[in-house]
C-alpha cells in the first residue's frame, strides 16, 4: 500500500503530522508555561515565560487560603485504598469463579456482566439518599466521608474486573495448587502462596485501572464530599478555578500540572505489566 513519496508528498505528510503534534501538545505546553509565568491571570501570559517562577507552586501548598495539599492527599489516599480493596475483592471472587464449580456460578458470572451495563453514575440519586440514611446510623460512612465514597467505588468495580481476572486465572494450570494441597495446604493458603504471586501482572492491571478511574472521578465525589477539607482533586480544582480565569489562572495551572503527576507515575510504572495483563486476561488457553 505504501510507496515512496515524492518530495511534495513527503513534505505534506510531515506538515500534517506537525499540525497534529501542535494540536496535541499545545494545551499541555500552554498550561505548563502558565504555571511558571510570573503573571497571575491569563491575559499577559507568554508561551516562553520571560521571568519563570515557582511562586505559584509554593502558594498552592503554603497559602492557607487553598487546600490543595489536602485535596492531593485525599485523592491519592482514596485512590490507593480503593484500588487495594478492589484488587483483593475481585481476586477472591475471580479465584472462586475460576477454580470451583458450584450452583449459581454461571448465573453469577453472566449477572456480573449484565449489572456492569448499568453505570453506577446513573444511580446517583439513590446513592445520595443511601449515604444520607447511612450517615444517620453510621456517621463514619455517611455523607462527606471518605469511607462512604470508597464503599460506593468498591461496589462499582466488581463486574468487568472479575471477568478480566478470571480469564487470567484460567490460564494458570491447576496442577500447581493440587500439589500444594497434597502437601497439606488449605485452598486459601494455596491461593495466597502459590497463585497470587503468579498473577501479579493482572493484579497490577486491575490496580492501575481502578486507580485511574477513581482518581479521575468527579461526579460521585462531588456529591458525596461537601466540605473543602474532605474534597478530592477534581472537585477542589474545579472550585479553585470556577470563573477565576482572570486572576487565578497561573495558580490553577500549577495545580493542574501537579494533579497530573500521580496519574502519570502510576501509568508509567505499571505500563509494562498493564499491557501483558490486558492481553493475557482476554484469552483462554
Amino acid at each position: 500500500m505504501y510507496s515512496r513519496h515524492s518530495l511534495i508528498g513527503s513534505m505534506a505528510r510531515h506538515a500534517l503530522l506537525l499540525l497534529a503534534v501542535a494540536f496535541a501538545m499545545f494545551p499541555f505546553l500552554w498550561v505548563l508555561s502558565a504555571s511558571f509565568n510570573a503573571t497571575d491571570g491569563m491575559q499577559m501570559q507568554q508561551l516562553i515565560p520571560p521571568k519563570p517562577t515557582l511562586a505559584h507552586y509554593k502558594d498552592l501548598f503554603t497559602s492557607p487560603q487553598y487546600k490543595f495539599g489536602i485535596w492531593l492527599w485525599n485523592s491519592v489516599k482514596i485512590s490507593l485504598i480503593t484500588s487495594t480493596f478492589v484488587v483483593a475483592l475481585t481476586a477472591l471472587a475471580a479465584y472462586s469463579f475460576s477454580r470451583f464449580r458450584f450452583k449459581g456460578r454461571r448465573v453469577g458470572l453472566l449477572g456480573l456482566l449484565l449489572v456492569q451495563m448499568f453505570p453506577q453514575m446513573l444511580a446517583i440519586v439513590a446513592l445520595y439518599v443511601l449515604l444520607l440514611t447511612m450517615g444517620d446510623f453510621f456517621p463514619f460512612a455517611g455523607m462527606n466521608t471518605h469511607t462512604g465514597l470508597i464503599m460506593i467505588y468498591l461496589g462499582g468495580a466488581m463486574g468487568f474486573n472479575t471477568w478480566l481476572m478470571k480469564g487470567y486465572f484460567d490460564t494458570i494450570p491447576r496442577s500447581l495448587e493440587e500439589s500444594a494441597k497434597v502437601d497439606g495446604a488449605t485452598p486459601f493458603q494455596a491461593f495466597v502462596h502459590i497463585i497470587l504471586p503468579l498473577v501479579r501482572p493482572i493484579l497490577a492491571t486491575i490496580f492501575v485501572l481502578t486507580f485511574i478511574s477513581v482518581y479521575s472521578d468527579f461526579m460521585i465525589a462531588s456529591i458525596v464530599l461537601r466540605t473543602a477539607e474532605q474534597q478530592t482533586i477534581p472537585v477542589g480544582l474545579r472550585v479553585l478555578i470556577s470563573d477565576n480565569y482572570g486572576n487565578r489562572w497561573a495558580l490553577f495551572a500549577a495545580g493542574a500540572v501537579i494533579s497530573a503527576l500521580p496519574f502519570l507515575v502510576v501509568f508509567l510504572v505499571a505500563q509494562r505489566s498493564l499491557v501483558s495483563g490486558l492481553t493475557r486476561g482476554g484469552v483462554k488457553e
Binding site: 505504501y2 505528510r13 475483592l89 451495563m117 446513573l122 444511580a123 446517583i124 440519586v125 468498591l154 462499582g156
Partner: protein, 517 residues
Amino acid sequence: MRDSFLLRHSAKILGLGILCALAIYAASSLFVAGSYGLAAVPVIAAGIITYIFLSGRRYPIRWLVPGLLFLFVMVLYPIGYTFLGSLTNLGTGHMLPREQAIEQLLGRTYAPPNAERCSYLVFQDAAGSFVFLLQGRNTILVLDGQATAVSLPDERFVDETGDGQPDRILNYRRLETREIVALLPTLQQVRVVYEGVTFGIDSLTEFSVQMPRYSYDKATETMTDLETGTAYTAVQGIYTSVKGEEIYPGYRVWVGFANYVRLITNPQISAPFARVFLWTIAFAVLSVALSFALGLGLAMLLNDPHVRMRTLYRVLVIVPYAIPSFVTILVWRGMLNQNFGVINQMLMSLFGSAGRVQWLENPWVAKAACLLVNLWLGYPYMMIVALGALQSIPHELYEASYVDGASRWQQFRKITLPMLLMPLAPLLIGSFAFNFNNFNLIYLLTQGRPAVPNTLTPAGATDILLSYTYRLSFEGQRGNQLGLACAVSVMIFLVIATISAINFRMTGTLEELSKNV
C-alpha cells in the same frame, strides 16, 4: 496442624459474631427510627453470610461474599431504588417517609399571643452542652435536662463582674449575645418542661410558653393548625389547605408513571428533554466519528514505513492520553475563555474583533467546543487501536488490488475500512456508550450551559442526559426533582441496554462468553 485448625475456626466464629452484633445494632437503630422494612435487611444479610460461612457446601460462595456485599449495597440496591424512585415524587420537601414528616410537624410549636415570657441566660461548658437560667416569675435552672426552681443566692453561681448576674455556673461559662446569635438555630430546638408547661426560645432575649402548632387527626388524615385553625389535607404528599397553602416538609408518595408522563407531555419539560436527548445522541455519534477519523488518519500516516521519525511523532501525539481528563478539560475551558483565553487572543490578533468567538456562551458554538475538546481527548485511543488493526491487514490484499489497477481511494474504501471496522466495531460501540455518559466532559467544560430559556427544569444547550439528571437532582433552582431525575436515569438505562444488546448480538460476545464460563 490441629492448633491452626482451632485458631482458624475460633477466628471465624469471632468474625461472624462481630458481624451479627453489627447487624443487630443496625437493625435495632433502623427499627427505632421507624424504618421497619429496612431493619430486616441487615438481619437477613447477616443470616445469609453466617450460613454461607458455616455450611461446608457453600464453600465457594465464601470467596464471593466480600465483593457481593458491596455489589448488593452500592449497585443493585441503588438500581432498584432508582427504578422505584422514578415512580415517586422524591425531591426537595418530599424526602421523608410520611410518618417522619407528620412527626416533624407535630413537634413544631408556637407562642400564643398572651403567652408567659421570661428573660434567660445561656451557659456552655467545654464539651458544648448548655445550661439555661430562666428569669421570670420564678428563677428556673435547667441543668442536664432537669428544670428546677432555685432561690438566690446559690453557691453554684459565680458572679465575677459584680453585675448581679452569674458569669459562671459550675464549669459552664455564660455566653454573650453575639455567641447566642451564632448558636440560635441550635438553641431554638431546645424545649424546657417546667411543671408541665413547655418553654422554648421565642426571640433573642426571651423564652416563652410554647403550644403544639399542629394536631393530626388520623381518621380523616387532616392536619390542623392550632394557631390559625386552618385545616390541611394531604394532596400529592404535602398537607395543603383549601386555599392551596402548603406546609413543609411534605413526604414522598407513589405517583405512578407521572414523572414519565411529564417528560413526554408537559411542554416546558418535554421540549428541553427532547433537545437534551437528541444532543446526547448527536454528541456521542459525532465524538466517536470525529475521533475515529482523526485517529485513523494519523494511524495511516504513522504506519507508513517511509515517514521518518515515526516513533517520535507517535509519542508526541499520544500526550493527551497520559494526562487525566478532568485536568485537561478544565485547561481547555480556560483556553476557550471568551475574554482572556489564548484561543480568542490568537484569533483576535488575526481577525480583529471578529475573532472574539463566544466559545462557551453561544449554544451552537458551545456544542462545537464540546466536540472539539472531546476530539482532542478521544483520538489517541482511536489511533492506538487503529494502528494495531492496520498492522493485522494482510499485505497481499493491497498487492492484489494494485495489480487489478485499484486506486488509493478504492483500496481505502474496499480494503482498509472494512478490514478495520470488523475488529474495531465493538470498541466503537463501547466508545459510543462511554460518550453517551461522558459527564466529566460536559459538566467540567460548560456545566451544560448556556441555559435554554423558558424551561421548568435546568436544561442547557450542551447538557447530555446524564448531566441533565445531575442538575435535576442537585442544582434545581426551584427545588431538586429527584423523582424526575430517576425517571431520566431509567430512560438512559434503556438506551444503554439497547446498545449493549445490539453489541452482544452483532459480535456474539454473549454466546462466546457463556460457552466459556
